[in-house]
Symmetry: C2
Subunit: 202 residues, 2 copies
């Protein structure tokens, strides 16, 4: 029997297409169907809504993270969690608003926050500071990922005569600067700053 020309639609194929589209900006389910060369109704057969897509992507990411963390501990474990969160969110910047406004709390998400809380606790963060740190990580990761779909300031945007400090700052960016790398460094800076009073690896 001949193989069908178009591979059969699967959740995996849908999520791959979503990841491609979400890198550049927001999209409709009709655009997703075009990307997959199927009808919108075929997508609905697998996933009921765009919000559901986002939660499937999150579930996939958290499953990967669980496997990847293994028995690392302390700051190394924290760093892996935060970087993984950043890779996930910065890979689907256009969908970050849905992550925030469609409040599906599933077991995976609660696991994630428990893991973050337990790891922070293990390096000496006290209970009363946990929510503040988790909030800082959440806000920064999601805010910075979302920011990826806005056009960056360029050196040409700031006239050095009128805006000297902004121009000086922009001049330090290499021309081929990768914003994802730049923002990940910012995240590292924030974490180091927030944890300055915590003992090193315990």
């Amino acid at each position: 029997m001949a193989r069908p020309l178009t591979p059969i639609l699967s959740e995996k194929r849908i999520l791959e297409a979503v990841r491609r589209l979400a890198l550049d900006g927001d999209f409709t389910l009709a655009q997703l169907a075009r990307e997959l060369d199927v009808r919108v109704s075929s997508i609905y057969h697998h996933v009921p809504s765009k919000a559901a897509l986002v939660h499937l992507l999150r579930r996939d990411w958290i499953a990967d993270l669980r496997a990847e963390l293994g028995d690392t501990a302390g700051r190394d474990r924290l760093s892996r969690i935060v970087h993984s969160y950043w890779e996930f969110a910065s890979g689907i910047p256009a969908l970050v608003p849905l992550l925030v406004t469609e409040p599906l709390r599933d077991e995976e998400l609660t696991w994630f926050y428990e893991e973050l809380a337990a790891t922070l606790h293990s390096i000496g963060v006290t209970d009363d500071r946990l929510l503040s740190l988790i909030g800082a990580i959440d806000g920064t990761v999601l805010g910075a990922a979302f920011d990826l779909i806005s056009p960056p300031f360029q050196a040409a945007d700031a006239d050095p005569g009128e805006y000297p400090r902004l121009a000086a700052a922009l001049a330090t960016l290499p021309e081929d600067a990768d914003r994802r790398v730049h923002l990940r460094r910012t995240l590292d800076d924030i974490l180091t700053g927030l944890l300055r009073d915590s003992p090193a690896d315990g």
Copy 2:
């Protein structure tokens, strides 16, 4: 002559109504018209789009900030800038996505970033760290403000048997916790952490 029963529609009245609506969640121009008891076409007469509304709100905020900063200097000035940014963004959480995705760069916005850069510079931050710090402030303020429209984790969300650290962290939140106040403290924490290597007021 009798006064009209409905006050004449003005930009000021429109922006006040937008601020009321945007606290709770996203809204349409039709809902805004209902809130103002006018037709949608009357709103269009003053403002062409929702994105334009957001930029008018930003322009208003930056004008207030310019007036408020006066000749404060150093960390005090920085703190006023960041808190003012937070008050602005957290006052219109549902519109934060438009602030990010509708990239209107006007003179006010460039002034704002120059001011932020110059103030950071004045407390000893070097040019090559300015963009990273500005990115951290931007990401955290916008991310945390946007997060205000998602329902917060409650103590009841985490079973202490299964999620002990998350439960312990949630138990430290007073029942009447104001998320805006809580998130502002987080912002202060982040700033202190980021500036740990900078000299105190110069």
